[in-house]
Amino acid sequence: MTHRHIVARAAVISALLLVRSTSADVLPDNRADVFWSKYSGGGMDITGYSATARAKVTENLALEANYFIDKVSGASVDVLSQASVIKDERRQKSGTIEYLRDKTTYTASYISSVERDYISETASFALSQSMFGDLTTMTLGFSDTHNTVGDNGGTADKPNVRWVGHALSRAYSGGLSQIITKNFIAGVNLQVFTDAGYLANPYRAIRFLDPATQIGYTLAGQTYPATHTSTAVQVQAKYYLPYRAAVTGLYRYYTDTWGVVGNTYELDYTHPLRNKWIFEGRVRYYKQGAATFYSDLFPFAGSQNFTARDQNLAALDNTTIGAKVTYAFLPDGWRIFKRGTVTADVSRIRFNYLDFRNIKNFGVPAYAPGTEPLYQFSANVFQVFVSVYF
């Protein structure tokens, strides 16, 4: 399933996002959001609904709550190769408390994400410190995640979940944001994750050559290392152009103990119009190399200690083109509301796998094992949300 074993990662990122939107010295305005999203691609349809509210209890203390539901249906390429479809739901709840003291903001949050075959809980703590005349903001963060991993041996309508293991994940992060000139701001983030436990996706399988079978290969379970450490560094810069518009560039380097190396490049352009509209366009390119124990087709059963054929660990690249528009309403406020915005965001992502082959519907006699077409697909991502500030 798409959410499997990465829910925890998303939870950690979400926790840290709560910090990133905070600038030191002043807690952000009270805000409520209603959010809808739709992902379609690779045979999967995922519809998300979310509601968030944050409010300052005092000038120094803010509380935030979020509820998110993802409804998943369809069948991804790896699931199709094993002839079953997916119908699932993920419910995520989070609560955050934020406390500002002098030039430091402390944030503590708890996130719980539940699917019928995956449970993830994350507790996190972060601080953000403004210094050097508020030209510099430093952030430090820590999060601790506990995952329980299940395998649905039944069908989409009649599930039969067997719990197969636990995984623990810790994330350590640090960041620095620096005002360079009155038009230019730059930042750097570092994050290290350590994971231990059951780290594989139970729904994905390896295949190895087996001349005794009609299709020439046999599917078998993956075997992952029980530990995983990864490091990511991102540098980013934002520049206010000579007219009222901004351009952002970022680069991220990722490496881990499984041998995956990833590079991300992104360029954004933001252009407001008459204080009512903000238009944004973005282009993102991502490329990674495969994990050392990944193979699309192993030569025989038990050919090596660790084996994976999870497409997330394959060599791949993807390109995203996105556009976003925000319209401001209630310019003079209404009752308790100071202002409101409605935003629409659309992205198109093209995924290309460089050593992951599409074995869906390619049994006898179309292709010999290892000569099937490489897997590729496009996805569309839509988001619409209404935000009110009070």
Binding site: I13, A24, D25, D33, L135, Y240, Y254, V260, G262
Partner: protein
Amino acid sequence: MRSPRIMLPGTVLGALLLSSACSIQPWVKPYERDRLADPIMAWDRDAISSAYLDHIRESREGSRGATGGAGGGCGCN
């Protein structure tokens, strides 16, 4: 054990940095930060939307982490 010859310059540099940190004057004055305070200069205007896009990517890529940014803006207080 490190030799004092190596440690001394580091200690002096550290002491200088620490002492100078207290006296650094902001070279972009608060009244010059109107552009930085413009919402278009925020690292992330909509955290929920960014978290969702990160989730989409993390579900399909081997990489993770170090996204986003904190602070910036006018820092006017």
